[in-house]
Amino acid sequence: MKNLKTVSLLCGISASLFFFGCSSEQDIDDPNAASETSASIAFLATGIEAGIRLDHQIYLRSVAVMGRDIYYFEPSDPRYTQELMRGPIDANGFLLTRPWASRYRVIRDCNTLIDRAAELSGGDGNSTAGFARTMMAYQLLINLNYTDENGIRVDVKGTVPGPFVGRTEALAAIGGMLDTANGELQGGNATFPFRLTSGFAGFSTPASFAQFNRGLRARVAAYQGDFQTALNALQGSFIDASGDMKNGVYHVYSTGSGDQLNPIFENPSADFVKALGHPSFEADAEAGDTRFSSKVLKRPAATTFDDLTSDLGVVVATSSVSPFPIIRNEELVLLRAEANIGLGELGAAESDINAVRANAGLGAVSLTSADQALTQLLHERRYSLWLEGHRWVDMRRYGRFSELTIDRAGDVIIPMMPIPTNEN
């Protein structure tokens, strides 16, 4: 009897051991995220399009503050009104490191997609690689805009990233990448083997996407000072001096789950907003310039923060789901003007500049000298492309930082971002 009890108990214990031991698989897949094997071409391509928005607002805000497009009043972070306006820049600070890292994160996705593209047949493989390479070049350009002479890494395919290269070499590499991509896109089928969002409406086939590629190439060429290449590239782009200046490629946003809202948007009539136009943007505006009146809403009271004061509400984005431009016709027309000025073709430049001005409700100007033409061009770029990430870069390219307003004693214009500490 006693033995029986003992044996049955031991059996029970063994059974429970067996149950626990077997039911508890310890080699568990990540319950929260996909493995690389489940990353299909469509998921990767969409990932790239979603990813180029990540932390991009930090970049846009930072270059807009450094280029004195706006002030950014952040009561819980002194950096926007201190570090960005008077330095020194913290090479480990998030203003630099977060957008920088997010761009390279997208580039990693691009490299994965290029590898995947090799598994596809002919045309689809070409167009997929062309798409990925174009997006990669765009992401590299954004980081190079931040660090300029300090350079970027261009070859980051493997686990050990390649060396830093300076501005000239980096621009050449980005330009070359765009050219390679253009060739690949030309060798694509009628459609991509994946879908793009409405942000690429009109640019969602390999052939039309190549026009976006050429637009970027023109921007890079202008940065290189290679104006003939810029003009050539523009010919393959979607430039149209008489067309809709807003036509172009955009970041799109939605309230869908897992999506982003337009981070630039703030309700301009809210009682406290963080982004406010730099007073010089109002002071320098020509009367009747719709580019000013459509992008700025005068607020009933000025806001003062950290000894800076402005009453210029920002209405570049009209809602939290409005798209935000990546590149658009207005920039292309101004790029053609810039290239022509660079090549001494002031007449051609004048007609493009006046096309943009007419669109803004302003009268024509005449270009008389190279220097005056350039000043005029930079003025038009400032008002046409306000807050789209250009002014700081433009003034740097032409060595005109001294023309930017210094608001407070001790403020400086930050010339370029340092290389992030964790790159070393």
């Binding site: 033995n3 031991l10 063994s14 051991l17 031991g21 310890q26 080699d27 568990i28 990540d30 929260n32 995220a33 996909a34 493995s35 990353a39 998921f43 969409t46 990932g47 399009e49 979603a50 009561p75 819980s76 002194p78 950096r79 201190q82 570090e83 913290d90 480990n92 600070g93 998030f94 490191t97 920088w100 994160r105 990693r108 996705d109 490299n111 890494r153 980051v156 050990v160 879908r195 969002t197 939605s254 309230t255 869908g256 897992g258 999506d259 982003q260 809202l261 948007f265 703030e266 309700n267 809210a270 009682d271 963080k274 000025a302 003062t304 923060f305 809602s319 500490t421 964790n422 070393n424």
Partner: protein, 989 residues
Amino acid sequence: MRVQRFLMLAALVMFSMGLLAQELAISGTVTNETDGNPLPGVTIVVKNTTISTVSGESGAFDLKVTGFESVTLQFSFIGFAAKTETVSASTDSLNVALKEAPLALSEEIVVTGFATSVKRQNLANSVATITAEKIARAPSQTLDGALSGKFAGVLVSQNTGAPGGGISMTLRGVSTINGSSQPLYVVDGVIVSNTEVQSGVNEVTAAAAAGSRSPQDQPSNRIADLAPSDIESIEILKGPSAAALYGAKASNGVVIISTKKGRAGETVYNISQSYGQRSIIKKLGVRTFTAETAFATFGQAGLDVFNQGNFVNYEDEIYGNKGDIFETRFNASGGNEKTRFYFSGLALSDEGIIERTGYEKYGLRINLDHHFNDRFTVSLATNFVKSSADRGLTGNDNTGTTFGVSLSSTPSFMDLRPVDGVYPINPFAQSNAVQTRDLIRNRETVNRSMVSAKFDWSVFESARQSLDFNLTAGTDFFTLQNDARFPRDLQFEQVSDQPGTAILGETESELTNLYLNLTHTLYSTGGISFRTTGGVQFEEGDLNNINVVGSNLIEGQFNLDNAAGVTVTQNRIIQVDQGYFFQEEINFNDKIYFTAGVRGDSSSANGDTDKYYTFPKSSLSVRLSEYEFWSGLKDIFTEFKLRAAWGQTGNLPPPFAKYTSFNSVNIAGMGGLLPSTLAGNPDIEPETSEELEIGFDATILNGKGTIEFSYFQQDISDLILFRQVPPSTGFTQEVINGGEMTTDGMELALNFNPVRTSNFNWTTGINYYTYDSEITRLDVTSFTTGGFAAFLGQYLLREGYSPTTIIGSELLPEGPERTALEAQGLVPYQPLGNETPDFQVAWDNVFTYKNFSLSGLIDWKEGGDIINLTVLLTDLGGTTYDLDDPVAQQRLAGLGTSTAPFIEDGGYIRLRDLRLQYEIGRSGLDNIVYGKLHHLRFALTGRNLWTDTDYSSYDPEVSNFGSVAIGRSVEVTPFPSSKSYYFEVSVGM
């Protein structure tokens, strides 16, 4: 399979043993020497055998011993000096009187593992135990909150003053950099969850959206759910040498909690009711403006508001609430020899110092013990808790929405209070803090059940040996709901065109445990005893967190289907662990005690899930006072024991550390994938902590006092590090095992009973402890972590430095040290402070005079620096109380280049708890309620009543980042800490 074979073998062994004849029958009673009253519950052990019993209600006991002609009986009871009596067949009834000795705890049983325990007199580690009276001296919202200052070597610190808790516990210093930092909690033998679940309010505050990605939702931790009044005792295994048998989860120490059990006899009821009040410990003051300073700080718009002439002290307005506290407790205990029960109920309502915040808790516990017969016992502990905390909106943010950040830029001349139900717009910040307080909800509701069952089977027992089997199983299940509501008409919601936010987080957590243990005890004839213990452990945890954020809400509605936009996130943590242990104890006549053991652990969190990581231990104690040569010293050192212990424990990698995954990102209704920013490590291993502890324990002057001294050194290797990688790889971090750290320190505990008369008794105890840590090897480039940026104060991790070193913008002066660092390509940061305190002292006193008793604990932390960013924000916002002083101007002028002014000494001396009690015992209550009352007790109690500190902000107990290992001491506009006092009436019948 190995285990089954082991069990079978064990069963065979025991049946092969015979039984001896010859019987000795002993009976008697035990009494208290002082008053002659019978003593129930005294343990009576026949020395050198497996035989023991416990005295019954009238102090009576009887024992049957076979195979001996005479035996030595040992009588022991906590609070009394142990006594031995030799008994032979000729002995008649035995009457034994025990002498009270409040400090003689040597017979107390100390738990050292799942099925292992040891008498304190033999223990080779310093293990502190506190009992119910000290835990529940003054009411505390949460269990961990009641433990501050109670243990040498244990730093208990509050992270937030928000109702519902949020406490971190550090045992003998930090032992990890990126791993889990909190100790393992074992309640009634079963591991329970102490998870911190982030509330999700980051969606509104965006606290983790800029300088730091670390979550900052000011979470509570789940050990808060236990009711302090249900606890019988708490024991803390502080280091690896003591905690080795808990293996890969124990490198932060183990907190072993035993809940109250029923006592056989007449059912006893206790009811107690407390009423108390809570208020802010310290107010900082607000800046007094003049027209000039208002204009200088806020421009013309500021001056216009100033001229309206309304002044509001926002510290009083927001943090000035006097919160009412009601606590009702009931318990009943009783049973008979076979079945005993303990039943308790708790209802607590505790209002916060911010209006519309507070904590409510309802608890129910039933503990049952049943002896089927002499050989089978079952113990069941069940606990159900429902708690609800309204935690307000405090801490860091990047949206100007939390009370503190909003007020940091709101001057006192701006009147935020509603006029005819309309809240004025605050032009000085993105939110109107009064409106936010009045309209939001940030509620955390927990429903939790914890059940543990213990089955003990005396498989075999003879006079000389015994084999015991134990099965312990437990489950800890809770659902936690975070319900945060931000109506669309809030000022800050209007900034968005999707106004109104509803956050609903649902978390389900289930922990299941199964332990099977066998213990074999053998008493040899030479007075040497052996105990062999082995067991297996299975543990599974599954935490599933679903967080839904609805935006653009319909007016007055918070159901998620009333939101125009919905975002869902889900996070699951699944962990499956298995382990085994084996331990051999050898006891030489209670003079020398030796143990050696090993624990093996495998876990789904490790890279190699099949690999068992082993954690050995060994210890030795020698009771010198038991030897002849000590007899001359007995009057001074009544008991003296030297001890040494060595052991290893581990800290498992975070469950996600081995995966390199792709994260989903959506755009315009399409799903996409982006590589994770973390490069996982498929070979990740647990961290290993190794500790050597040496010390002595002494009882002096025949029990008038005790001295415990320990020195320890811990070496932690294979540190799990999130190494920063060049972000151009697409990753920002990778996980590696690479680094070593060493911590050494000492602990001294003194307890005295200087006065003991029939009317007056005074016991006093002092704990002192200090430790230092140093990173001895770092396989990654030195880096800064925690905080937000170097110029805002961060922690520096660098070889040769303490891991809690705080740095800022300041660099070392020119010199060889700086040159050397620069030569290595390192930033020559100048250390500006250190979170680790210089030392801590706790002084506890208990006075009793007749029916009165007065007890209190003074807790002194010397040093330990804090990064005070609250003052930085108020400086920037122009509202700091001292901003018109030159010193504040200097602080502000140096911003960006000088961080030192924001790093402050967080030392304090604090009256942790105080209790004044008047108790009428049974004899005084004869004529009341027909003599049915056991006791009637009145008490005035208080917690944190008095604090002395140089720290300039609200309270030096603060952490913006919760219970992180490195980076705790950062303050950003927290929920201020509070003090509380209570009046309590308690009746027993």
